[in-house]
Structures are given as structure tokens and as C-alpha cells.
């Protein structure tokens, strides 16, 4: 088995060895359900689709994903186990990837457990299941982006609370990159091309595109590059600070 796989399996095991996994899954499912039915007006809309469900995912992830990612590296550094891990014959990149994939697989599991909603909507009507599948994919990619950001923030500090707050702030900035709240910060001094570039980084824009059922290669590429960039940044941050 490859080293990435070995690390992934250990990580995933440790989620379930502590209450973390169960608390996360239960809260995710309860909140996702509450948002869908109360804020989203699932029944009142009278449409057989899952739009009210997916619309709230970015906001749900904004707090839940940093809670999951904050421990990725901060905990290893705090407990010193990073010294044990990094003196085994594994590369830093394998460790970063293994831990990230474990967290991503775990969120995929939580997401998969929302399947009763999909069953419900199919029972009530005839939804476009292709669009629902695309939206699930979009949600998973969005979770991956949040996790990669969270992994990087967790590598910057040995304090999990700091890692959580940093991750929420950075994810929030990425979420709203196309909105005045973020753009106004840059508008005063940045040239228009830079503003356009920042606006194009928005999680929401790319997520919305996919949830509409349109899987555009550019959106996939966006998430792939975002995840790749932040995992690389995680590796660099660890390389510089792992022994501090």
C-alpha cells in the first residue's frame, strides 16, 4: 500500500476513534436538513429539486469544514507527533495529501448520508437526477476547496482555535470574492484586471455554476487548482515551520 493510503487510513480511523466523526456527521445532517426545510422552503416551493438543499452548503461548510480541518496539522504540531511522522520514510507531500484526502473522504461520507433527501425528492416528483448528481459533485468540490484552505491554515499554527478562525476568515473571503464586501477592499487601489481576477476566484460563482447542472471544465479546473495551490502552500508552511 502506498504511503498516502497508509496515512489516509490512519487518519480516517482516528476520526472514528474519537467523538469527532459522530458529532460532525450528526450536526451536518441536522443543520443541512433544518436549512433545507425551514430556510429553503423545500415543501412550499412545490418543485421536485434539491436546490434549497444545496444553496446553503457554502454557509454550512464555512463553519463546519474549518472545525474539521483545524486539527489536521495544528494537533500534530502541538502533540509533537509530527516529529514521529516526519522521521518515517514518507515525504511531506505524501503526508499532506494523505491527511487531506482522509478529511475529504470523510466529508464525502457525511454528504452521502444525506441520501434520504434524494430519495424523498424522487418519491415526491420527477427531479432531474443528472443535475442533482452534478450538484453533489459541486458540493464535494467546494468542501475540498474549504478543506485545502483549512489544511494550510492549520499548518500555520499549533493552536487549533487560531487555525479555525483563520480558516473561517479566508474561506469567507473566497466565498464572497465576487461581492462588494470583498471587492471594495481592493477597489480603492487595485487596477480593474486585478479586480476581475479576484472576482473570478469566488467559490460561490463556481459552485453555483455546477449546482445548476452544468459541469464546465473551467469550474472543475478552478477547484482542482485551488486545492492543489493550498496543499502546496501547506507543504511549504510545514517545511518552514514543522520543528518550531
Amino acid at each position: 500500500m502506498s504511503h498516502v493510503g497508509i496515512i489516509l487510513r490512519r487518519e480516517l480511523g482516528s476520526y472514528f476513534a474519537t467523538p469527532l466523526a459522530y458529532v460532525f456527521i450528526v450536526i451536518f445532517l441536522v443543520l443541512a436538513g433544518a436549512f433545507t426545510f425551514y430556510l429553503g422552503g423545500f415543501y412550499e416551493r412545490g418543485q421536485a429539486d434539491l436546490e434549497p438543499f444545496f444553496t446553503f452548503h457554502p454557509w454550512l461548510y464555512l463553519f463546519l469544514i474549518p472545525a474539521l480541518s483545524m486539527r489536521l496539522w495544528a494537533e500534530e504540531r502541538k502533540s509533537g507527533s509530527i516529529e514521529l511522522l516526519m522521521t518515517q520514510p514518507v515525504t511531506l507531500w505524501q503526508a499532506v495529501l494523505g491527511k487531506f484526502l482522509a478529511a475529504w473522504l470523510f466529508t464525502a461520507l457525511a454528504l452521502a448520508l444525506t441520501f434520504p433527501l434524494w430519495l424523498t425528492v424522487n418519491y415526491l416528483g420527477h427531479p432531474d437526477n443528472g443535475a442533482i448528481l452534478a450538484a453533489y459533485l459541486g458540493s464535494l468540490l467546494l468542501a475540498g476547496g474549504f478543506l485545502a484552505v483549512g489544511s494550510c491554515m492549520s499548518a500555520l499554527t499549533r493552536n487549533q482555535v487560531v487555525a479555525f478562525i483563520l480558516a473561517v476568515v479566508v474561506c469567507f473571503a473566497f466565498l464572497l470574492a465576487g461581492f462588494p464586501l470583498v471587492l471594495d477592499v481592493f477597489r480603492a487601489w487595485a487596477p480593474q484586471p486585478l479586480l476581475d481576477a479576484i472576482a473570478s476566484l469566488s467559490f460561490l460563482a463556481h459552485f453555483d455554476a455546477i449546482t445548476k447542472g452544468v459541469i464546465d471544465l473551467r469550474d472543475l479546473l478552478y477547484f482542482a487548482m485551488l486545492i492543489g495551490f493550498f496543499l502546496l502552500a501547506t507543504t511549504i508552511a510545514l517545511e518552514l515551520h514543522k520543528a518550531d
Partner: protein, 307 residues
């Protein structure tokens, strides 16, 4: 073979390790001594590939720790200071994880797992999570992890720190049994450990090597090397005995301890004063309870060198 050449580590202004060069060969157990903060842990971390050197080179069995880190790590078993591990894992799951990372499989994996579990007597705690273990067991789990792949080189950072005397004895016995065919470096600030397990000792202070010798060689640097210690039954005889001993030609200095009724005669360099003192005790009719030759006091050497 472990080899370092002009190895250094700087953190901004602070020089943690400064131009450290040494070689250790098979069968040697090197004790790394020094006050806290002297650079022992940093040096070991550089050897283990956890800290990148700012200057110089280090290699494990011919593999440079910077240029070929994976090959160097594969030849090495490392116990980090404090034996950190994953608290929520059971001992069994943790050892299996390490065996996988070390690339063990099939019969060899099973054989190595059985071996380390038996060797470190971990059978009774296999299903316990590591965070519930006592300090001694945690240290043993850390050692089990380090020897899992039967590496030719072992680097153990304070393997007996915080253990009780029985546990210390066990760990030292373990090190001694592995010593003959491996290269072992241990760091410690417990000087008795050097006598108990090491064939060689390097003393490091403020990031530099200040002594590199056998334990006996280090002891010979002591003022107490070949000193004669004499305990009398009757403390009243001390003053007279002192005057007589001090008058001997080979004696440089005499120290008294009233509480123990003990007199210690420090020889002039190269002099052997035991026969003379023994003869004197007979002649003057001193009631001697104990008479022995000191080989030297490591703690005194340590303080003199690192002060």
C-alpha cells in the same frame, strides 16, 4: 556509519548547533551529553531528518540526510524526545501503522511485530489507547516504533527521561542487547547512564562539542581520578589523619567530610597514592571502615567542561 561534518543550525540570531563533526561506527553506543538547551535535540533532529541543517552535512549509512532523506530515514530508527505518538490509537493499531509505513509485509511484518511486542513487553497493553498508558509504557511504545524495521542505526532522544529506576534498568538492558551490531546514539543528562550503556561520550555545550572520549577517559579528566577515599570509624581521628595524609608527597589536596567521617586525598597528576595511604593507615592505627580508589567523578567533569 553516522557521519557529520561541520553541522550547524542557526535560528535567526541564535546558534543552536555550531560546527559539529563526528563519526560513529557499528558497535558503538554514543552518549550525547550536555546541559539543557545545549543543542543535543537539535543535532539529533538534524540526523533524523526533522530539522534541516543551516550548514554542513550529515549522513546515515552513506545517505545524506538532506539529499537522500528517504534512504537515510529508512536506515534509521528514531525516538523523539518525550516519545510523542497518536494518543487516540491503540498500541496494536499504532504498531501496525508504523510497520506499514516502514514497508514491512507478509511473514516479515508478522515476525517483526511479534518481536517488538515481546521484546518490549507490550502484550498486556496492546488493546489500550496510547493516551491511557503510563509514561513507562509510552516510552516502550516509542522504542518499539523505533526498532520496528530492525534498523542499523538507532537515535534515541532521552530514552530514560522520567522513568522509574526499574524502567530505566529495562531500557538500558534493551540498549545493551542491541549494542553489539548497531550504531546507537542516545542523549541524556543522566551521567550514570553513560557508564551503564555508552562506549563513548560526546559532551556538547552551547552548540559545540567540548569533549569526545570514552566514559573512562572522561572520568580520568576529573580531579578525583585516582583519588583515595577513606572513611574512619571514629571522627575524632579525622584531624590527625588529615595532617598525616596531606604530608604524603603524592597528595595534592585533602578534602574532609565531617558528617560522613570521610577523608578524600586528591593525588598530584600521575601520582598513585593508594599504597602509601593504606600503609599510613596501618602504621598510625586508624580504624578504617572503607577505603577505595575513585575512578573520577563524571558530574564534576561535566560541570567543569560545560560551565
Amino acid at each position: 556509519m553516522i557521519k557529520t561534518e561541520h553541522l550547524s543550525k542557526r535560528y535567526d540570531e541564535l546558534v543552536a548547533v555550531d560546527d559539529v563533526s563526528f563519526q560513529v561506527g557499528p558497535g558503538e553506543v554514543l552518549g550525547f551529553l550536555g546541559p539543557n538547551g545545549a543543542g543535543k535535540t537539535t543535532t539529533m533532529r538534524m540526523l533524523a531528518g526533522f530539522v534541516t541543517p543551516s550548514g554542513g552535512r550529515a549522513s546515515i549509512c552513506g545517505h545524506d540526510v538532506v539529499e537522500a532523506p528517504l534512504a537515510a530515514k529508512a536506515s534509521l530508527g528514531y525516538l523523539p524526545e518525550g516519545a510523542p505518538s497518536y494518543g487516540e490509537m491503540t498500541v496494536r493499531a499504532f504498531l501496525h501503522f508504523i510497520a506499514d509505513l516502514r514497508g514491512l509485509s507478509g511473514a516479515r511484518r508478522a515476525q517483526r511485530l511479534t518481536h517488538v511486542i515481546e521484546h518490549l513487553q507490550l502484550q498486556e497493553v496492546l488493546e489500550q489507547t496510547i493516551e491511557t498508558l503510563s509514561k513507562g509504557f509510552r516510552r516502550r511504545v516509542g522504542l518499539a516504533q523505533a526498532i520496528m524495521h530492525d534498523p542499523p542505526v538507532l537515535i534515541l532522544d532521552e530514552p530514560t527521561d522520567g522513568l522509574d529506576p526499574n524502567q530505566k534498568h529495562e531500557v538500558r538492558t534493551l540498549i545493551n542487547t542491541m549494542a553489539h551490531d548497531k550504531i546507537i546514539i542516545i542523549s541524556t543528562h543522566i551521567l550514570e547512564e553513560v557508564d551503564a550503556v555508552c562506549s563513548r561520550a560526546i559532551i556538547i555545550a552551547r552548540g559545540r562539542i567540548v569533549a569526545d572520549d570514552t566514559p573512562a577517559g572522561l572520568a580520568a579528566r576529573s580531579r578525583y581520578h585516582n583519588a583515595v577515599s577513606l572513611r574512619l570509624e571514629n571522627a575524632a581521628q579525622l584531624a590527625a589523619a588529615r595532617a598525616a595524609v596531606a604530608a604524603l608527597p603524592g597528595v595534592a589536596e585533602v578534602e574532609l567530610s565531617e558528617r560522613e567521617a570521610r577523608l578524600t586525598a586528591l593525588p598530584r597528576p600521575g601520582a598513585m597514592v593508594l599504597p602509601e595511604i593504606s600503609a599510613l593507615a596501618n602504621r598510625d592505627g586508624l580504624s578504617v571502615q572503607d577505603l577505595h580508589l575513585e575512578s573520577g567523578r563524571l558530574d564534576e567533569v561535566f560541570r567543569t567542561i560545560t560551565a
